[in-house]
């Protein structure tokens, strides 16, 4: 077990693509850590660089006290579970699990005992003689995990661990994986593009974009206080509403309505400043009657989410669309006029794409000029999908 420290880590591919851009990251001992981001953001490259399958162009990787930047993958004491599981098709389950021990020159009897033991712990005891082709997706994943565990590494690396399972199995495997990680207590890094998966599994999440880390934090932090509009749009099964706003006379003017300045930004914004007002659909309450400090709009679409509904409101003056989560039994009809009331302490203000705060964020990202199109933010996987 060990912590992982990356400093100034850079990876430039021969074709000139800068997959990792002077990246600093610390993963604590025993932590379950998620690398989250859209495809092409460098998350898999980062994982493979920790594993040693990619050679860093610059910077360093430490596992525990050891500098492993230039070590071969086999000497880093890490185990990796691949997205496709990479179980050897010509070996049965026992030989697959025992393979790392075969490389370590453990004798046949003790490595088979260890394989049977590990397999038993993951409910694979009946399957030892089977070939990978005769296993279901979930069983294959557990064999791949067992093979990694038999290696007893300091760090587990999981590449998209749940992406090859069907929806129902995915929920089961998620619970299983979280429990297994807690029981083993081994530092585990996993890559995912599914924000719901990252929120559900990880102790901490690094949200990546374009080879840089945009925010590191606990699931609660990245969900409640996204450090920038990229993270705000990426995290959450329904993307955050991001609306153009201006500060006038101590209030935030959005689409003609006057809203109170969110607490976190009080005293940090000046009159006349252009900002982005952010509020999650889950943190907005729908009112059928006029109300002060609320955003008015016309209901255009009502989408049923099961125990609640997602209501889209067109804001006056072609400013855009805003989404509100409405509990069951209170759904409006399309065509109704409605008001969305931000919950106190949950609305956020962004300036030049970054959250308005007193402290300078540790991962200072260059100001990115995000086109703010509410309701057109990158779609992300949902819990219910």
């Amino acid at each position: 077990m060990a912590a992982i420290t990356m400093s100034e880590l850079t990876k430039v591919y021969p074709n000139g693509v800068r997959a990792l851009d002077a990246l600093d990251l610390q993963i604590a001992d025993g932590e379950f850590f998620a690398l989250l981001g859209p495809s092409g953001c460098g998350k898999t490259t980062l994982l493979r660089t920790i594993a040693g399958l990619e050679v860093a162009t610059g910077g360093s990787v430490h596992i525990g006290e050891r500098d492993v930047t230039d070590l071969q993958p086999g000497r880093r004491d890490v185990a990796m579970v691949f997205q496709d599981y990479a179980l050897f098709p010509h070996m049965n389950v026992r030989d697959n699990i025992a393979y790392p021990l075969r490389i370590k020159k453990v004798d046949r009897r003790s490595r088979h005992a260890k394989a049977a033991d590990t397999a038993g712990g993951l409910g694979l005891a009946q399957l030892l003689e089977r070939r990978p082709g005769q296993l279901s997706g979930g069983q294959q994943q557990r064999v791949a995990l067992a093979r990694a565990m038999a290696y007893t590494p300091q760090v587990f690396l999981l590449d998209e661990p749940l992406s090859n399972l069907d929806a129902r199995l995915r929920l089961e495997a998620r619970t299983f994986l979280k429990r297994l990680q807690r029981d083993l207590g081994v530092t585990t890094v996993f890559v995912t593009h599914d924000q719901a998966e990252a929120l559900a599994l990880a102790d901490r999440i690094a949200v990546m974009e374009g080879g840089r880390i945009r925010q590191v934090g606990t699931p609660v932090e990245v969900f409640r206080r996204p450090a920038n509009t990229f993270v705000a749009g990426f995290i959450g099964s329904t993307p955050m509403n991001l609306l153009d706003a201006q500060i006038t006379d101590g209030v935030v003017r959005v689409a003609g309505a006057a809203l109170p300045i969110p607490e976190h930004a009080e005293g940090l914004v000046a009159d006349g400043e252009h900002v982005t007002y952010g509020a999650r659909p889950e943190y907005l309450d729908y009112w059928p009657a006029e109300k002060s400090g609320a955003l008015p709009g016309e209901v255009v679409v009502v989408e049923n989410l099961g125990s609640s509904s997602l209501v889209s409101l067109d804001l006056p003056g072609d400013v855009g669309t805003m989404q509100v989560v409405v509990p069951e039994g209170q759904e409006p009809q399309p065509g109704d006029r409605g008001w969305a009331v931000p919950r106190p302490g949950r609305a956020l203000l962004y300036r030049d794409g970054s959250l308005v705060t007193t402290s300078v964020p540790a991962q200072a990202a260059p100001p990115v000029d995000h086109e703010v199109l509410v309701g057109d933010t990158p779609s992300s996987g949902t819990l219910s999908s």
Binding site: M80, D84, L87, F88, H90, R102, P132
Partner: protein
């Protein structure tokens, strides 16, 4: 009504045509199966007057049986060389990025059809002569292997390309050395490809006449394909009893090898990689 008759006639015509084509291919094979057991084999296929005299006569021929052993030696030697070198080259070409790799492969493939062809026989003979490889079975093996290698590399590279690299990366993370990865993972996974190339090499060398005919001087080193050419009667007529019997013995090993390899290695692995 008219169209039904037309349809019927069309079918009859089609099957008559197919039977004729089938007969064209089947009758020589039928001859091969019956003539060796005929007391007096003729050029036509007929019910044999059963006898095993032809086999006895063939065993009396000083070179016949020995030539089959020579064929096995040449084909086996070339197969070992081609499979081992082609596997290593194909693995490297499939996994390492070399500039101009595809051009190299296609160039080799193009040239390889020339190497064992008639056009280069004079320079090849000259080369073998300078290297003291005339009348040497090793010389034949080397020249045949050289000619077959590019195509073998090409076939095997395709097999290697379709093998996911995650198998090897997985083994690498567990600390396996490159040689261990090849032995434990790559060779077992591409085994059907290796078997294919081995069979293909054996069949090619087995059937090749020109190279051993030109390079081997002494008849006791000649393979079956060359010895068959010598089975004539004193009158200069083809000795049908010997020729038919020898042809049967000559084709059997190749047929048996195909059957064996397709039952043993014809299967493909499934699973282990979730697509």
């Amino acid at each position: 009504m008219n169209s039904t008759i037309q349809h019927m006639l069309g079918r009859v015509g089609r099957y008559v045509f197919l039977s004729a084509v089938l007969g064209f291919f089947a009758i020589p094979l039928l001859w091969l199966a019956t003539a060796p057991f005929d007391r007096t084999p003729k050029i036509t296929t007929s019910m044999p007057d059963f006898a095993l005299d032809n086999f006895r006569a063939l065993l009396d021929n000083p070179y016949a049986v020995n030539s089959l052993l020579n064929s096995i030696y040449l084909a086996g030697g070339a197969a070992v060389l081609v499979v081992s070198f082609a596997a290593l080259a194909a693995y490297a070409l499939s996994r390492v990025r070399v500039p101009g790799r595809d051009a190299l492969l296609y160039g080799l493939l193009l040239l390889s059809s020339i190497v064992t062809g008639t056009a280069t026989m004079v320079p090849l003979f000259e080369l073998a002569f300078r290297l003291n490889l005339i009348d040497s079975r090793l010389g034949v093996i080397l020249i045949m292997s050289g000619g077959l290698l590019p195509a073998a590399i090409f076939i095997l590279k395709d097999f290697m390309d379709s093998t996911p690299t995650s198998y090897e990366e997985s083994a690498r993370v567990f600390g396996a050395s490159p040689l261990q990865i090849v032995r434990h993972i790559v060779v077992p996974v591409v085994r059907p490809g290796l078997a294919t190339v081995a069979v293909w090499t054996v069949a090619n060398v087995w059937g090749n006449f020109l190279v051993p005919f030109l390079l081997l001087r002494s008849p006791d080193k000649a393979p079956a394909a060359v010895i068959m050419y010598t089975l004539y009667t004193e009158g200069g007529q083809a000795n049908l009893s010997l020729l038919s019997t020898f042809s049967l013995l000559y084709s059997l090993p190749v047929v048996l090898m195909f059957v064996f390899v397709s039952t043993r290695y014809g299967f493909r692995f499934h699973g282990g990689i979730k697509r």
